[in-house]
C-alpha cells in the first residue's frame, strides 16, 4: 500500500551550494578574470578599453539576448550568423537605394538612398521572416531545431551570397554610420546603449510578463505546459521569431559599425553567442536561465578575448580556450540538472 515512503516532514531550505554557484558563478568568474587581467596588463582597466570591450560584444550581446529565449525552450539556433549576413546586405541595399549603388559614397547619391530607420526596418523584417520560417518548420514539420537551423545556416548564407553577387556594399549615410560608430555623452558607444536597452527590455519580458512565464514553462516541461493549457506550438515558434528580430537588429548595428555589409559577415557568430548564453547559466535542457546571466556571459567572453589579445595570445589559442569553456559550462549544467532531477 505504501508505495513510496517519502517523508512528508518539512525539509528545511538548506543552503544550496550548487544553485548558488549556478546563479553567481559567471559574475564571480568575470570579476576574478578582470582582476587578473588588470594586474597583468595596466591598459586593461582604463575606461576606454572597457567601453571598447562593451562595444565589441554589443552585437554578440544582442544576438545572445535572442538566443536566450531560444535556449530557454530547449531549442538552438545555428542560423544566426548567416541570417545576420543576409539581413545586413538587405539593409545596406535599402540604405543605398538599391543594389546597383553599392560603391557609391557621399552626397551625390543621397537622392536615391533611404533613411537609416528604413534600413533598420528592412534588416529586422528579414530577421523576423527568417525566424518565423524556421519556427514554423520546427513546430509544424516537427523537424528538430538543430536540423532546421543547420539548414537555415546554409540557406541564409546562400541567399546572402546570391544577393551580394558583386561584392560588399559600403559607404552609408552619416546617421546610419553613427548607429555603429557614434558615442553618446562623448563616452558611451551607441551599440552598447542599444544592446543594454534591449537586454533590459528582454529581462522585463521574461521576468514580468505572462509570455515570459510561458517560455520557461514550455522549456521546462513541454508536456506539462500543454496539459496546463499553454499553446506550446505558438510559444515555440515565437522564440525563433524573437531570435530573428535580434539577428536583424544585430545585422543593422554591424552594418553601421563597419560602414559596410558583405556576404561573409557573421561567420561563426553562432558559436560565440551560444557560448555566451550557456556560460551565463542558461541550461541547454531548457527552462532555466536569465537575461542577466546572458549579459554577464557575453561580457565574460568579451573580456576573455580582449585580455588575451592584450597579452598577445594567438587567436587560434583563443578559439581553443572558448571551446574548452563551452564544454565545461555544459558539463556544469548537466551536473546541476541531475541534482534537480534527484530532488
Amino acid at each position: 500500500m505504501i508505495q513510496n515512503a517519502l517523508s512528508d516532514a518539512q525539509a528545511p531550505a538548506k543552503t544550496d551550494v550548487v544553485g548558488f554557484l549556478a546563479r553567481f558563478a559567471p559574475l564571480i568568474f568575470l570579476i576574478v578574470l578582470m582582476a587578473a587581467f588588470a594586474i597583468g596588463e595596466p591598459r586593461f582597466l582604463t575606461p576606454l578599453n572597457l567601453f571598447n570591450i562593451l562595444r565589441q560584444v554589443s552585437i554578440y550581446g544582442l544576438l545572445a539576448v535572442g538566443m536566450t529565449f531560444v535556449i530557454l525552450t530547449a531549442g538552438i539556433d545555428l542560423s544566426i550568423g548567416s541570417l545576420v549576413a543576409f539581413a545586413g546586405l538587405v539593409a545596406a541595399a535599402v540604405s543605398k537605394g538599391g543594389i546597383s549603388n553599392r560603391f557609391a559614397v557621399g552626397a551625390g547619391q543621397e537622392a536615391a538612398s533611404y533613411a537609416w530607420y528604413l534600413a533598420a526596418l528592412a534588416a529586422i523584417g528579414v530577421g523576423l521572416a527568417g525566424g518565423f520560417l524556421q519556427g514554423i518548420a520546427i513546430t509544424r514539420l516537427k523537424v528538430p531545431p538543430f536540423v532546421v537551423t543547420l539548414g537555415g545556416m546554409s540557406a541564409f548564407r546562400g541567399a546572402a551570397l546570391l544577393f551580394a553577387a558583386g561584392g560588399p556594399i559600403s559607404g552609408f549615410e552619416p546617421n546610419f554610420v553613427w548607429m555603429g560608430q557614434g558615442r553618446i555623452l562623448g563616452q558611451v558607444p551607441v551599440p552598447v546603449l542599444i544592446f543594454l536597452t534591449f537586454a533590459v527590455l528582454a529581462h522585463f519580458v521574461l521576468r514580468y510578463t505572462r509570455y515570459g512565464r510561458q517560455v520557461y514553462a514550455v522549456g521546462g516541461n513541454p508536456e506539462a505546459a500543454r496539459l496546463s493549457g499553454l499553446n506550446v506550438r505558438v510559444v515555440t515558434t515565437s522564440v525563433y521569431v524573437i531570435m530573428g528580430f535580434f539577428a536583424g537588429l544585430g545585422a543593422f548595428v554591424l552594418d553601421a559599425r563597419l560602414d559596410s555589409a558583405e556576404a561573409v559577415a557573421g561567420t561563426g557568430y553562432e558559436l560565440t553567442v551560444i557560448a555566451s548564453v550557456v556560460i551565463g547559466g542558461t541550461s541547454l535542457f531548457g527552462g532555466v536561465g536569465t537575461i542577466f546571466g546572458t549579459v554577464i556571459g557575453t561580457i565574460l567572453i568579451g573580456v576573455l578575448l580582449n585580455g588575451l589579445v592584450l597579452m598577445n595570445v594567438s587567436s587560434y589559442i583563443q578559439q581553443i580556450i572558448i571551446g574548452i569553456i563551452i564544454v565545461l559550462a555544459v558539463a556544469f549544467d548537466t551536473f546541476a540538472k541531475s541534482r534537480r532531477r534527484a530532488g
Binding site: A5, D8, P12, R213, A217, G220, L227
Partner: protein, 508 residues
C-alpha cells in the same frame, strides 16, 4: 509426483519503503502451464524480474532443473533456458524476423553472418509453430500477434525449457488468442513449461494447469486449476480486510449531469495501428459526486481521461458539457469548457521541476493573475498561492522554493491547487495518490471529497481498489478499452469490482 522444473523458495525482495516480496515461493512442473496471478502491485513483476535475472533477490533460493542456480543477468537466465516475453516486445522493428530470432547469436563464421542458415532455421521454427511467416520480412510490418510469435520463435531457438509470458493476450483478438493457445498446447506437449501471467481469469481456466496467487508481496495460495473456481481465485487475490484507514464519505445526493461521454472510440497506439485503445466508451459524471474509474493496468482508463481532456485525439464519440455537445481538440479547449486533468505521472506530465512552487501552482490560471492578459500581477499571484497553501495545507518553506524540493504529497497538492484555481466543473484525477505516503493519501482523499461537496464533478482513476471503494459515490469499470459495468459505491466490494474488471461485459 514429478520433480519440479523450477522451484523458487522463500524469495524476499525489499525496495525503499516497501517489502515487494515476502518469502514467496513458486514451483513449476515440467510440461505445465502455470498461472501467476495477483492484483496490480501484488509482486508478480518483481518475482518475474528475480526469475529472469533482471533483479537480485535479498533472500531465498532458486532451483532450476534440479540444480541450485543464481541468475546474474537476463542473459544468464536465457543461457540456462528461461526466457521471458514481456508485454512490451523487445524486438528490433527495422530488422528481419530471422535477425530478431537470432539476435546476438547469429550463425556464421567470424564476423560474417550466414544468412542462408539463419533463414532456414528460422523457417524451421516458425513452421513448427504452424506459422506462415517469411524469415526475411521486416518486423515493423507485422501485427502485434505476429510480433508475439516472433518472440516465441526466438524463445524456442534458444532451446528454452521455461517460457514466461507476461500478459501475452492483452493485445490480441479472440482469434489470435485461440491461435496462441494452440501453440501453447503444442509447446506443452513438447515438454516445455510456461508461466502465464494474465488478468483474464477465464483464460486461466481454459489453458492453465496450476496456479499461484500473490497478494501484497506474499504467497496466498497455489494449487491445481481443476480443484478451484474463478470465484475462489478472486477471493484469494483480494483477501484482505477492507482498509479501515480510508474512511468513506457520507452519502450525498448527486446533482445534474455535467459531463456526458458517448461512444468514445480510438484505435491504434504506438505499437499497433489496429489496437483497440477505446471502444464505445460511454459514461456520465454528475455535479458534486466522485465517480471512480476502476480497471486493471491497460484497461484504457488513462487513455479515456486524456481523450476527454483533449490531450490525445480520438476517432469518434461525443462529449457534452451541461448537455451541450462540445468540440475538444486540445487541453486548451478542455480548460475553456471547465475540465481539468491531474495526470498520472506527476514528474513527467505535471511539474516544472526547475521552477518555483508559486510558478507551478499558478501555471493554468494566468488569466486570473495578469493585467490586460500581458503582465503578471505578482501580488495577485502571491495571494492565490497563499490561499491554496492554506486551503490544501501545503507544507513548504517559501513559495519561491523549487517544487522539486517538496515531498510527493505536497507536490501533488500543488498540482491539485493548480486546477482548483481554475474553478473547474469537472476535474479528472489520474492515480491521485501514486507515490505518496499514507498520511498524505488521506489528505488527498479529503480534498477530493471537499471538491465534490463544493459542486465539482470529480472523476478519480485509481489502480488501488480500496481507494476506489473509499472515495467513489459511483464506480465505472473498464477492461480493454471498454466500459464493462457501473455500480454504486455503497454496493461495491473488491470482489465485485474485480470480477467486473476481469470478466468481459458483465454488469453487476
Amino acid at each position: 509426483m514429478t520433480e519440479p522444473l523450477l522451484r523458487m523458495t522463500l524469495i524476499g525482495k525489499r525496495f525503499p519503503g516497501v517489502q515487494a516480496l515476502d518469502n514467496v515461493g513458486l514451483e513449476v512442473l515440467p510440461g505445465e502451464v502455470h498461472a501467476l496471478l495477483g492484483e496490480n502491485g501484488a509482486g508478480k513483476s518483481t518475482l518475474l524480474k528475480v526469475l529472469s535475472g533482471a533483479q537480485q533477490p535479498d533472500s531465498g533460493t532458486i532451483e532450476f532443473g534440479g540444480q541450485r542456480v543464481t541468475m546474474t543477468s537476463p542473459h544468464d537466465a536465457q543461457r540456462r533456458g528461461i526466457v521471458t516475453i514481456y508485454q512490451e516486445f523487445t524486438l528490433a522493428p527495422n530488422m528481419t524476423i530471422a535477425e530478431n530470432v537470432f539476435i546476438g547469436r547469429e550463425p556464421g563464421t567470424g564476423v560474417f553472418v550466414n544468412w542462408r542458415k539463419m533463414a532456414v532455421e528460422t523457417r524451421a521454427i516458425t513452421t513448427q509453430l504452424g506459422l506462415q511467416l517469411r524469415p526475411m520480412s521486416i518486423v515493423r510490418n507485422l501485427n502485434v500477434a505476429e510480433q508475439q510469435m516472433v518472440e516465441i520463435a526466438r524463445a524456442l531457438s534458444m532451446k528454452s525449457r521455461l517460457i514466461v509470458m507476461d500478459e501475452p493476450t492483452s493485445a490480441l483478438s479472440s482469434n489470435e488468442v485461440a491461435k496462441l493457445f494452440r501453440i501453447i498446447r503444442d509447446l506443452k506437449a513438447q515438454g516445455l513449461s510456461i508461466i502465464f501471467v494474465t488478468h483474464r481469469l477465464e483464460e486461466v481456466m481454459q489453458i492453465c494447469d496450476r496456479y499461484t496467487v500473490l497478494r501484497d508481496g506474499r504467497l496466498v495460495g497455489s494449487g491445481s486449476i481443476a480443484d478451484t473456481s474463478i470465484d475462489n481465485i478472486i477471493r484469494l487475490m483480494v483477501g484482505r480486510q477492507v482498509n479501515a484507514l480510508f474512511a468513506r464519505r457520507e452519502k450525498t445526493d448527486p446533482g445534474e449531469v455535467v459531463l456526458s461521454v458517448e461512444g468514445l472510440t480510438r484505435r491504434g497506439n504506438a505499437q499497433d495501428r489496429n489496437a483497440t485503445v477505446l471502444a464505445d466508451v460511454c459514461f456520465k459524471a454528475r455535479r458534486g459526486e466522485v465517480l471512480g474509474i476502476a480497471g486493471l493496468v491497460g484497461a484504457g482508463r488513462t487513455e479515456m481521461a486524456r481523450a476527454v481532456f483533449g490531450a490525445d485525439p480520438f476517432d469518434s464519440g461525443r462529449i457534452s458539457i451541461d448537455r451541450r455537445q462540445v468540440h475538444i481538440g486540445s487541453p486548451r479547449d478542455a480548460i475553456r469548457y471547465g475540465i481539468g486533468l491531474v495526470p498520472e505521472d506527476r514528474k513527467q506530465q505535471a511539474l516544472f521541476l526547475a521552477l518555483a512552487v508559486r510558478v507551478n501552482l499558478t501555471m493554468a490560471s494566468h488569466d486570473r493573475i495578469s493585467r490586460w492578459g500581458i503582465f503578471m500581477d505578482e501580488e495577485a499571484e502571491r495571494a492565490m498561492v497563499e490561499e491554496y497553501r492554506k486551503k490544501l495545507n501545503i507544507r513548504m518553506a517559501s513559495p519561491e522554493q523549487l517544487i522539486a524540493s517538496l515531498s510527493g504529497g505536497n507536490q501533488q497538492k500543488v498540482t491539485l491547487a493548480r486546477w482548483l484555481a481554475l474553478r473547474p466543473k469537472v476535474l479528472i484525477v489520474d492515480e491521485p495518490t501514486r507515490g505518496i505516503d499514507i498520511g498524505a493519501k488521506v489528505e488527498v482523499h479529503n480534498l477530493l471529497f471537499e471538491m465534490a461537496s463544493s459542486g465539482i464533478s470529480v472523476i478519480a482513476i485509481s489502480s488501488e481498489l480500496p481507494e476506489v471503494l473509499a472515495i467513489s459515490d459511483r464506480i465505472v469499470t473498464m477492461r480493454e478499452g471498454r466500459v464493462t459495468g457501473e455500480i454504486k459505491g455503497e454496493d461495491a466490494s473488491e470482489e465485485i469490482l474485480l470480477s467486473m474488471m476481469t470478466l468481459s461485459g458483465k454488469t453487476a
